[in-house]
Structures are given as C-alpha cells and as structure tokens.
Amino acid sequence: MNRATSKLSRLILPVAVSVSLTLLLAQAAFAQLKVLACEPEWGALTQELAGDKVSVSSVTTALQDPHHIEARPSLIARARNADLVVCTGSELEVGWLPLLLTQSGNTKIQPGNPGYLETSQFVSRLEIPKVLDRSLGDIHPAGNPHIHLNPRNIAKVAEVLRDRLMQIDSANADFYKSRTAAFLARWGESIRRWESQAAPLKGMTMVVYHRDLSYLNQWLGLRETGSLEPKPGIPATTAHLADLVARMQRDPAKIIVYSAYNNPQAAQFLSDRTKIPAVMLPYTVGGSDRAKDLFGLFDDTLARLLAVQK
C-alpha cells in the first residue's frame, strides 16, 4: 500500500462514520408525510386536503418571484427529505427546480415518480405561444403557468392532488378522500359566491405588471390592455413606461395592478401620471394579511378589485 492510498483510507473512515450517523438520524422522524410545494398556493391546497397528516413547506413565499429563485442549500435540504413535491410546471420553475431535484439525491421526487406533481399539466393553459423566440421575452413554451388564479383550476388540481396523496400514503387514503370532498364542496360554494360578487367586474380594463393574472381575467371576464413589462420577464424600461403613459392618457384602463412580489415603483409611476389607481393584488397565499389561505386569497383579490370598480 503506498502513501497515497493509506492517507485515503485514513480519510475514508471519518466519512463512513458520518454517513452511517446521518443514515441513523434518517430513521428518526417519519411520521408525517413531508410535502414541498414550489409555490404557496400549492402548499395551502395540500394543507386543505391533508390537514395534520402532512407537514408542508413552500419553496417560495408570496413576496418572491417564482421565476427567479436561488437553489439555496436550505431548499436542497428540504427537497432531500420530501415525500412529495408539488409544483406548477410549464417551465415556471425551470431556473431552479431541476437543480433542487438533481442535488437532492431523492428518488421519490424525480419527474415520473408519484412524488413529483406538476399541477399545470391538468388544466387548460392559456397563451400557448405560436412562435417560440427569446426576442419575445421570457416566454413559456407550454403556455402561461400562473394557473391558480382561476379557482376552477384549483378544484381540478385538488382532485389530482388527492389521488396522489392517496397513492403515496395509502394508510390515510380515506382521510384524504373525505377531506377533499369537504373542501371541494366548500370551494364550489365559494366559487358561486365569488362569481356573483364579481359580476360588476366584467369587462374591467387593467394594466398588469407581468402576465400573471391571465387566468383571473379569463375567469371573471377582465380585460388586460397593457403590461408594465415591455416583454415577459423584462423589467419596465423608461421608454416603455412613457409609451404606456401616452396610451393610457388616450385610452385609460380602469386599474393598474401588480402582484405582491413586484416592485411597486413602475405601477406607481404610471398611476401618478395617469391618475389610474394602482392596486396591489396578493397573487398568492400570504401576499396580503387577508390572503391567509386560498379562500382568503380570492376574497381579498375580489375585494381589492371591487373597491376600485365602485
């Protein structure tokens, strides 16, 4: 044995010890199903369907742009321990999720396995681009991924998520089934209530920040007449804002909206010059004080829009 290999074996021993120690630790906590949601809306939905049978954490908060997240060590550690990852898909998380998955060393959550769920696969997506070219901005080939702002999409995803929970944790299958049924009943009622509340909003024109409200607009019949981003994913430029000011002075929209994670400066700039009210929408669970859960998210979103319409 030469000196190089003897040194190697000296170093392998501590590695082996710590590896076996960490393996032992792994056996300790395995009571609750660990769910890692890429966005808060899916975390909230999982919580609704699974209650205390799961421990849910979300990769992003409502104050973070889900397109741009660092694959932080803490996230890799959470992916490592997850039994189920619930993400939007449609390339919303393309800049960071693949790294979390490959670095996690966790087979369960790899695409194709039951522990990996892409919610946008189960709803009709809007704005599927006919032309794919980066000169058009950061567009998503599979369509607009911000699907959760149409509550009917939430209902569709709830069914898929329920099936997935039942598959992964069959011991609690009945629990997930009845809890989802109860949720869907309440959700259906709420949808009817929201739709009647939102009737006055039909046809309302709006300037958005990013095209992340398209599903809300489709659901309630709102009309997007401009966006603060010149192209998807490209921050507002002064030239584009000047153009938007001129356009809004000719043909004003009813409201300027931006999401909780957007910088409000551009919206405020446009509002100051056009006297069109700028309103922050929570966008997802946690985006405002009232948007504590999915019900609160839609209650608050509608309340904020209706306050302007009146």
Binding site: R72, A77, K108
Partner: protein, 488 residues
C-alpha cells in the same frame, strides 16, 4: 396529346408550304389532305361523345338536386346536433392544443441544447505574453489575461438529457478561439440514488472550493481569482467519479469524495493505475431569516504528480525545463452568503464570496530535464503556500450590478534541496522567487435580460514581481437555447 401534334403539323405545313409547294407532287398533296380529313373526323367523334357524357351528367345532377332538397330537411335537424358537436369540438380542440405542446417526433428526444457565446476587448498595460504569477509553480492552465485588443472568448456548447430513469448525461464542449475543441465536462449523473446519494462519473468540475464548480460564463468577474489560477490551474476538471451524500437534516450538510486520474494541475497526467487525485469535501448551508442564505465548505485535494513540467529562465538566461515528482496537498475553505430583501432577488441583491487555499508540496524537483544549460540535477522540494480572495457583488437596481474583488497570494516557503546544497542558486529558479501577489478588481455589469450580460472590469494586477499591470476588460456573455439553471 393530339392537339399539340395537330398544331405542330399545321405549323410545319405553314413553314414548309412556300418553299416546298413546287417540290410536292399532286399525289402527295392528296395524301396530306386525306390525313387532315381523318384527323378532323376523329375529333368530331370525340367531341360528340363528350357532349353525350355531359348531358348524362346533367341529368344525374337534376336528380341529385331533388335528393338535396329532401336532405335539407334532415340537415335542419342535424344542425342542432352540429352546434352541440361544434361546442364539443372546441373543447376537443383546446385539449388538442394542450396535447400538442410537445411535438410527437423523433426530435422530441433530442437533448437540451444551449450555447454560450462570449467575447472580450482587453486593454492591458503589460505584455500578456510575459504574464506569470511569480512565487508559484506555473500550472500550464490558461491563467494569463489573454490577448490585447479584441478576442473571442471560449464558446460553450452544452448538450444534456436524461439517459434513462437512472442517469442524466451532460456534455459541455468548449470551442476555443484558436480553433481547438475541448471537453470541459462530459459526465453521467445518477437521478436520485435515494438516501441523499448522488453519483457522477466522467469528466466534471471538481468540488474543491466554491468557484471551481461554477462555469466561467456564470462567474461574477471576467477572470478567475488569482488563488484559483495558481492552485487549480484556473479551473480543475478531472476524469473520475464523484459520490456525495446529503444528510437528512434540515440544515444542508453534504459530504463527498472524488477520485480521478489526476489529468491536470496540481496533479499531472501519469502512467499509473489507480487514482492520481482524490478530493474529499464537506459543505454546510442554511438560511438566516427569509433574506439571507449561506454556505461554507471545506475540501482537501490530495494528488501525486509525475513529471509535472514547467519552463523557467535560469541564471544564465537560458530557458530550461524543470519537473516535479511528488505529493501535493491542497486545503480549500470557502464561504458564500447571498442577501436579497425577503429573498426576492429581482430588484436588489448582494452576494459575498470568499475562499482560502493552502497548499503543501513534498517531493523532488529536477532542474533542466533536457540538458540545455547547467545540466540535469535533482533535489528535494518542500513548499507551503497560501492565497485567498474575497469579493462582493451588489445589484443596486434591476439589470445593473457592481462588484469588487481583492486577491492576495502568499508565496510562503519553497525549500529547494539544490539551492540549499549550493549546487544551484535561487537565481536559477526565478519563477519561485518570494512574491506576495495582489490584485484589486472593480466590475460593473448590465444584464438586459436573463440571457445576456455586458461587463466592464478594471483590475490592478500585481502578479508579476515588481510589475503592475493595469487591465481593462469589456466583455459580453450571452446564452441561447435551453434555459439553464444556475447553482447557488
């Protein structure tokens, strides 16, 4: 077919007629007339038959019209059904649109392709051809600041795809501006071995320190820190295997080991079985609140070098080739901290990064291997050297960043048996003369989108003993093709 023939006959007849008339006999004229008459007859018959068929068709059409009137009634009732069907068709169409997102062709399985293009304009106050980092053994890596004036940077071509449900394959080829093609990385990586294990086999960037693992296009400065240049030959990618395990803890804790041939500095391509280089590393990371994330790492790279060569000018002014045989041990301590308000890095963010390297080498140094000056001689070499850098990059508004880096090397002690014994003098090894190199670097960059970046960098480089090189770099880096994901 007939029509053109007839025309041809007529045209030919007309053309030939004037000159030919006298030459044509009566009998021949008769024959021609007969032929024309026959043709005419044939045509008349054809036209008649066509007319008959037309009449028959008209009759059939009238009958059909009657049937159509009756069908109209049926159609009216069918219309209702059709409206319903149309609604369903619309639904089906939208479903089809969804289904069509991914093309059903062979090409659908093509790997994700992406290309990095970059170019530099460099303004260097000192001749880059004479660049050296005095005090340290040359690494034979690309450590010089490059050409003066315009030059193309390294273009990178990446192909990556899942091989099957076990492996992901990645090839990163670098197309050098001097028309060489290199393999930067080519490896297969396991897709979750479970229990936190990951295995990588092939050529990959070594996990020694922080920056070494990051591709040059994602660096925050145009060039590598001086410490990476002298200790890792700019960037170390070995051929071998890497296994690492992520602990099942809430705090990120990773342990890993790499075993490689030792194809590049600080090892050297040697003729021996087994591993010529091994790297053991551990990393710890986590969050502080929602705004801050951190990671620290410690790595130990142990290599054996066989005939690791470099050129130097000895005391007689002759270029000699020297060679090192022995063991090299490198410790690397790294840390990175990233801050952004509420973890939202789109508007503003800050990144602090630093690494400390310490290397000791122990073996023999052979002077003048191909006798060109004072003759081949071998003596011991023992060295202990270190270096570090720290850098901060601040994005003060969307698209715009500013960064500062400080580099420092400590050439430490290099004890040469040949010098101690008096066989040769320190002047025979000028590149190993004591020198604590420093460099100050200031950088501004502008990223119009996620896929493009323009950078302006100023550096005051004191790598060469007693020489200050003022460097200005203007650089563009763009990426096209598949959307890449960047490491933390």
């Amino acid at each position: 077919m007939l029509k053109p023939t007839l025309m041809a006959v007529a045209v030919a007849a007309a053309l030939l007629a004037p000159g030919a008339a006298s030459a044509v006999s009566d009998a021949e004229m008769k024959e021609l007339r007969e032929q024309v008459r026959q043709l005419k007859e044939q045509y008349e018959k054809r036209i008649e038959s066509l007319e008959r068929r037309l009449q028959q068709a008209e009759g059939a059409a009238q009958k059909a019209q009657g049937a159509a009137v009756k069908a109209e009634g049926v159609a009216a009732t069918a219309a209702d059904a059709a409206t319903k069907a149309e609604a369903q068709a619309l639904k089906a169409e939208s479903a089809a649109v969804q289904a069509n997102i991914r093309p059903a062709s062979e090409a659908a399985f093509n790997p994700a392709v992406s290309v990095i293009l970059n170019g530099v304009y460099a303004n260097l106050s000192k001749d880059p051809g004479r660049f050296q980092i005095t005090g340290f053994v040359p690494t034979l890596g690309e450590v010089s600041p490059g050409n003066r004036g315009f030059s193309l940077g390294e273009s990178e071509l990446t192909l990556a795809a899942n091989v099957d449900h076990y492996f992901r394959g990645t090839l990163i080829a670098s197309l050098q501006p001097d028309d060489r093609v290199g393999v930067e990385e080519a490896n297969i990586q396991s897709l979750g071995l479970s229990n936190g294990f990951t295995l990588k086999v092939g050529r990959f960037l070594s996990s020694v320190g922080y920056q070494n693992e990051i591709h040059a296009h994602a660096w925050d400065f145009t060039d590598a820190p001086l410490a990476n240049k002298v200790f890792l030959g700019n960037q170390l990618a070995d051929d071998g295997l890497q296994i690492k395990r992520l602990a099942p803890t809430d705090t990120f804790f990773e342990l890993g080991a790499e075993f490689g041939r030792g194809r590049a500095f600080p090892a050297s391509n040697r003729d021996k079985n087994g591993a010529g280089a091994s790297n053991l590393f551990a990393r710890l990371g986590g969050d502080i609140g929602a705004s801050t994330a951190w990671r620290v790492g410690l790595a130990h790279l142990s290599t054996t070098a066989q005939n690791r060569n470099y050129d130097d000018l000895d005391s007689t002014g002759t270029q000699v080739n020297n060679s090192f045989n022995g063991r090299s041990s490198l410790w690397a301590l790294d840390g990175v901290l990233k801050w952004s308000p509420n973890g939202n890095s789109t508007s503003t963010n800050f990144k602090l990064q630093g690494e400390y390297f310490r290397r000791s080498e122990n073996g023999n140094l052979t002077y003048d291997t191909a006798p060109a000056s004072l003759g081949t001689q071998t003596g011991t070499l023992r060295s202990a050297q270190s270096g570090w850098y720290a850098q901060g990059v601040y994005q003060f508004m969307p698209m715009w960043r500013v960064g500062y880096r400080f580099d420092r090397l400590n050439s430490g002690t290099v004890k040469l048996g040949l010098v101690d014994s008096g066989a040769l003098s320190a002047a025979d090894f000028p590149i190993l003369a004591g020198n604590d190199a420093t460099r100050n670097t200031l950088m501004f960059d502008f990223s119009p989108s996620e896929f493009s970046r323009l950078r302006l960098q100023f550096a005051r480089d004191r790598s060469r003993l007693g020489v200050t090189d003022n460097q200005v770099f203007l650089q563009y880096i763009v990426s096209l093709g598949a959307h890449g994901a960047h490491k933390f």
